[in-house]
Symmetry: C2
Subunit: 181 residues, 2 copies
DNA sequence: TCATTTTCGAAACTTGCGGTCTCGAATATA
DNA sequence: TATATTCGAGACCGCAAGTTTCGAAAATGA
């Protein structure tokens, strides 16, 4: 995304097209899976030309990353003072809904170091930070927090990637892991 | 791999070609990364025809999975009575060495349910079982074991996929997680 | 008002790679 | 020696990512 809102001379960018493309990308990937969704299909679904996509996004993966963030916007309502089980429940719910998108992004990131950095900065790190605050608020000792962050988000991704459900049992398991100590 | 050692009539399968292909696949992927390695390159490096590859493996991903297992054979010498830190150290070492192969397999598995099942059965599950036994031997209470299996292997994969090192600090972190309780 | 600039949707085109097909030579059995 | 199957090699196909081209639309500015 290159806003370039610099008010040039020509026809301004169509924000409607931008929205349509983001929505089409997110919806199609959730429905059919990343690999099955072609750029032509996204363009067609959005009623846009492919060039309009490639002018603003460098490729499929970056588009889907933006689409995911756009979708998650506002939906991530983690209040500061939230119990760990409640936090985990919300995170698991969101991750399940956006599952196909998350998985495909993580997968593509393995073939593309630049994308991997973006995923890390924009998806991974902010959520780690949120969990750290939650653990702090839950009274977990500082020296145990970092290990728990890796254990919890690690297990979450591991299960997501291996098609194992992020259900209530899993939430209890992780909450129990944090509690003892 | 379809052994088909049924002693048919024609020319027998060249085991030298099989070995050369597996070695070429593993080496090339470790060196250059999965996405950069083409089937033509593997065939050329192995001095084999592409048809010889496709006769015995259904596709690139399955070939690489076999190549990984072939490489790991014998290298996984987890003795029954091993301390958890020692176990983790060995696992991290192996995972680091085979890192590019592991990552690409996990990535490809996100686009291919059949491959995902194979990875789970042949890579994931056996190692979970080994860790379970190790935790049992270390005296971890049964009700905590399953959560720890997910936490530890989850964190390991999470770090592997996010390019974070599986170093001594990580081993200590996970060992500490298992110890408290 | 009208030239200029930039975007738009649409579609043809290029490229690269996974995978298939074909071929003659090699190597086994019966 | 006839048959069957593999071998290496390379031409070939199909599909999707990404590029280029085109005429129309929508903004600026003189």
């Amino acid at each position: 995304m290159d806003s370039s809102d610099g008010k040039g001379r020509g026809r301004p960018r169509s924000d409607a097209a931008r929205r349509a493309i983001l929505d089409a990308a997110y919806d199609l990937v959730v429905m059919h899976g990343y690999a099955e969704v072609t750029m032509d299909a996204i363009a067609a679904q959005a009623g846009a030309g492919k060039q309009t996509i490639y002018r603003w996004w460098p490729g499929k993966a970056d588009l889907v990353l933006d689409a995911l963030e756009d979708w998650a916007e506002g939906r991530i309502t983690v209040t500061e003072t939230e119990s760990l089980p409640s936090f985990l429940h919300k995170v698991c719910e969101g991750a399940t809904r956006a599952g196909p998108v998350l998985r495909s992004l993580m997968a593509q990131a393995q073939f593309d170091a630049a994308l991997r950095d973006k995923v890390k900065v924009r998806l991974i790190e902010p959520r780690r930070e949120a969990l750290r605050r939650c653990l702090a608020h839950a009274g977990v000792e500082p020296r145990h927090r970092e290990g728990l962050v890796y254990a919890i988000y690690g297990a979450l991704w591991y299960r997501l990637l291996m098609d194992e459900p992020l259900d209530a049992a899993f939430v209890r398991q992780m909450a129990a892991l944090a509690r003892r100590g």
